[in-house]
């Protein structure tokens, strides 16, 4: 049963990835593109966890954690730049 369900889950997440890419390309404003990038990193995390289940390896969780940290830092930096015109403000 798992051999049937895993390709279905991969297909659902692939469609989700493509819809997010469409929003990233189309997005009328800059926060739309930022949230599309954030969602792309989350989709990549889920795809990596699923691929780790496919090839039966626990190596991918560290990579997923790295992508999570990088995506969050990128989102925060981009929104901070959008709000203030600067990322790190020294007083």
């Amino acid at each position: 049963m798992l051999a049937i369900v895993i390709p279905i889950a991969l297909a659902l997440q692939g469609v989700a990835f493509l819809l997010t890419v469409a929003r990233l390309l189309r997005g009328p404003s800059l926060p739309d593109r930022i949230i599309a990038l954030d969602t792309l990193s989350i989709n990549a995390i889920a795809l990596l966890v699923l691929y780790g289940m496919v090839i039966d390896s626990t190596l991918f969780f560290e990579i997923a954690l790295l992508i999570a940290v990088t995506g969050f830092i990128g989102t925060v930096a981009l929104t901070k730049y959008l709000q203030r015109g600067d990322i790190i403000e020294l007083r």
Partner: protein, 134 residues
């Protein structure tokens, strides 16, 4: 490749995978289809995060049943995402309010008097409304 699993554990993994992937697809559809940025903010920050939680729980069950002992370090990814999704949503909503993004008529609580509306450009905001970005 999936030969040595207990049937009940296999059913649990399948259900969790389908629920998680379905929630991720629903979040992506919401991001692609909703008409307003403040509505589009709801899809990825709630539904997609819950979908990743489901997929990670499926992975926890899978690797705990198959191999050597309880495997819980996947939950770190899910915990980090659950912590950081509201923070990024809050900062994105603040940036969108500051940029005065256009809203549609059904979006309630406009204290920031948007510069232009999607439907018609002549609508002025109500200064005594509730919190923005509801």
């Amino acid at each position: 490749m999936h030969a040595t699993m207990h049937p009940i554990a296999e059913i649990v993994v399948c259900v969790l995978l389908l629920i998680g992937s379905g929630f991720m697809l629903i979040g992506a559809i919401g991001l692609a289809r909703l008409p307003d940025f403040y509505m589009r903010l709801h899809g990825p920050t709630k539904s997609t995060t819950l979908g990743v939680g489901g997929v990670v729980l499926a992975s926890v069950v899978y690797f705990s049943v198959r191999g050597n002992g309880l495997s819980l370090h996947e939950l770190l990814v899910s915990a980090f995402l659950f912590l950081t999704a509201p923070i990024s949503a809050h900062m994105l909503a603040k940036a969108a309010i500051q940029q005065r993004l256009p809203v549609i008529e059904r979006t309630r609580g406009r204290v920031w008097s948007p510069a232009r509306s999607v439907a018609d450009a002549g609508e002025e905001g109500h200064p005594d409304a509730g919190k923005p970005g509801k």
